[in-house]
Amino acid sequence: MSSKVHVQARINGDDVEFLCEPRQSLLEVLRDVLGYTGTKEGCNNGNCGACSVILEGRLVNSCLVFGFEIQGKELQTIEGMGSPEELHPVQQQFLENAALQCGICTPGFIVSTKALLDKNPDPTEAEVRYWLAGNLCRCTGYDKIVRAVLDAAKAIKNS
């Protein structure tokens, strides 16, 4: 019954066009239509933050956005951050602090951290913990993640 929608957007600086069903979430579009599988699905209901992306400069859960809503918009995903040769400072500090175990939550934490540091380059530990309250991790117990974020803030400041 419903016809596919044609959507044009900018993702990580590239012009992207795709067709999607109105009911497909941005998360489904990223993973299943466009092959951007760095963005993860955890809960699919807004609670875990594994699907975090930055839409028009704002951190959002891509499972709580419809694909058609990004028409004409600017999106940043984990794929736009660093490369295997040159990691983003947040990625580098997650590695150095061993801030991940299974890794399913990691892209979400890294995107969420980028959104935090873009806005507040020098957060306190409490600010980091509140900002990341929407990102869940079943493995690390969070302390190493919080340390990685604080170290990334320092690394960015000193670079």
Partner: protein, 291 residues
């Protein structure tokens, strides 16, 4: 998820036309933080999703010290607490807007969605009630005004009729010597649903020793967020004292008719209603004294 079409009307009349044509098979989309989950889980279904976010009227955010604030129904929380004038004038609304979900939810969640979703535990409704916010509702026969305290009719139900949607809120400018406050109790420190929530707005006299007027509302203790008119009225004309505040808290406790659920027993919620109402009044008084 059931397949549907979507529309993104550019004006209020276009949206009303679509909602009228599709009746209860149409569903409004604002920030989507409730409705996308509900459609996915089959708790709601729709043939047409009407994304209202391209309509200028639902994106308005303005403030004047004489007429107060106008907040479009779809303005996300982060824009509201990011607006210095509005955040400065209504700290009691900011308490709630910065509690809804986490940062990513606040990037999308609107006050209009919070109200229309009509959860008994919705955080922004009690605070909008105590600030005397009024809704502008558009529909097939024009627009009408509805006070926020009259908007919800039951869990997930509201006064909107077929073809109608919520366009914006008007909030009166804060009076001199006034203060607003909202708080809730949750087991976590962040990202949880209120076990009980309480909002207060108080106006003090010139030397700030007496209440001139007050409004109290509580959440998660009745089928809808609850305006406890008599609790505020009991404060009017009274000295700011533990005794007068305690009396208002008793009235709030008496008005609460909570249920037992996984977040707390009815008895516990009744008790919390008193505790949080007291803290909300004290917080509002403190802000009025600092104003």
């Amino acid at each position: 998820m059931h397949a549907f079409d979507f529309a993104n009307p550019q004006s209020v009349p276009d949206a009303v036309g679509l909602l009228q044509k599709h009746g209860d098979r149409a569903r409004v989309l604002a920030g989507g933080t409730d409705v996308i989950v509900q459609l996915r889980e089959g708790r709601r279904s729709a043939d047409l999703v009407v994304d209202i976010k391209e309509i200028p009227d639902v994106n308005v955010l303005s403030y004047s010290a004489t007429t107060g604030a106008k907040i479009g129904a779809a303005v996300p929380c982060y824009r509201i607490y990011g607006n210095e004038e509005i955040a400065g004038a209504y700290p009691g609304i900011m308490d709630a807007a910065s509690l809804v979900g986490g940062i990513a939810v606040q990037g999308r969640a609107s006050l209009g969605g919070n109200l229309c979703n009509a959860s008994p535990a919705a955080d922004t409704i009690p605070t909008m009630i105590v600030h005397s916010a009024v809704c502008t509702v558009a529909g097939p026969s024009g627009t009408r005004q509805v006070a926020v305290e009259d908007f919800c009719t039951g869990p997930g139900r509201n006064v909107l009729e077929s073809g109608e949607f919520l366009v914006a809120f008007d909030i009166p400018a804060p009076s001199a010597n006034s203060g607003g406050f909202y708080l809730r109790f949750i087991p976590r420190n962040e990202m949880d649903i209120a076990v009980v929530g309480a909002g207060a707005y108080v106006v003090l006299n010139a030397d700030k020793s007496k209440f001139e007027s007050a409004r109290i509302a509580v959440g998660a203790v009745a089928p809808t967020p609850l305006f406890v008119r008599e609790a505020g009225e009991a404060l009017a004309g009274q000295a700011v004292s533990d005794a007068s505040i305690e009396r208002a808290c008793e009235l709030a406790r008496a008005a609460a008719s909570p249920i037992d659920d996984m977040r707390g027993t009815a008895d516990y919620r009744k008790h919390l209603t008193g505790v949080l109402t007291k803290r909300a009044i004290q917080g509002a008084v403190q802000r009025a004294k600092e104003s």
